[in-house]
Amino acid sequence: MKKVLVVDDSLSVARQLERIISESGDFTCVGHAKNGAEAIKLNHTENPEIICMDMNMPGMDGLTALRTLAVMDKEVKVVMVTSLGGVGDKFTEALKLGAKNVISKPFEVDNVLRILREL
């Protein structure tokens, strides 16, 4: 099963994503980070294959963390899960920084799993 790290300052969103990932049968959730800095630390210790990351977080935001991860870890695949997905500039910036896809909130479970399985 592929290891997934969830990064979101919202406890409720993190819980939703962890449940979707754990119940999929294809993925296992290896941790939850509340901001970009924690994501970078957990990426180092847990070595996930996929990161599902929010953009708008206190402290280090998702795009800044994505920029750092792109330099530090060429293997990990990052999918942004964000309410800002529909903002064209944010979406484009995330793809340019190396995100594999951008999922808008509110998200649909089937859509999240389809995108994760296509990675």
Binding site: S10, S12, G88, K96, I103, S104, I115
Partner: protein, 288 residues
Amino acid sequence: MAVKFFGQFLVEQNIVTSEALLNAINLQDKNNLKLGEMAVSMGLITLADIQKAHNVQMSKDMRLGDLLVEMGFLTLAQVNDIITRQKNTHLYIGEALVQVGALSDDELRKHLDAFKADQAQYVSNGIELPISSANGKIWEMTADLTYKMITRVLDLQFRPGKCALATVIPSNFMLAAMDLSGDVEARYLISVSEGLQKSIAKAILNETSVDQEPAEILEDTVMEFVNVVCGNVAAKASQMGVIMNINPPVTLHPPANGLTIPDGHTALSFPIHIVDGDTMEMILLIKE
């Protein structure tokens, strides 16, 4: 289920790859000249003049076209000619995708129709504000999208009340707030009763009962609802040509006599009458 732009819709549906979309965006960047670049390409002004105007812009909050007229570099008629040329030569993302070979003309038409159908649920119905505001259309859209998200995300039946100017933010069980910045400056607030907080938590967590959930989680669900609404408002605003940045949400617990309106702000109250008697209110604190 969210406000999207066409390129995102195509990638999300696996119709084009993210690489093809980036190629199309790069083509757009080369083709769609900004006002200053277009003025230079039309031979109306020099790069040095544009730089002078950009330097002045750092201390003067004016659009480049207005500033170039004020500084005597261009006439108003010339600025209008430049804007017309920009509109006439604008390359839309769908056209760019055809040009980079990611879509055929027929596919573009078909997927554009599907995209319009997907986004039709977010077309604004129009809301009356009690004030005239430079960004009135943005605030009307904000209220309208809030109502649509109450239906689609929270699955609650409600009746929107008449928008009114507020002199105080009334006390309630809790408020979740998000600061908006960029071309607009405002604070978006949602005020909820205890019962409604639980209804929101049930919807966000997809649970039938939240009685055992800690207060921290219950509050977090209201903040997440505000985050979802404001993120989609920012997406819609960008489609309207307005840059709106959002900040992480916060919670507030107002005293019994409510919260006062900060100096220099206008408060718009949008009462939301929930069918089972719970109370909800959206408030916009607008700095203008």
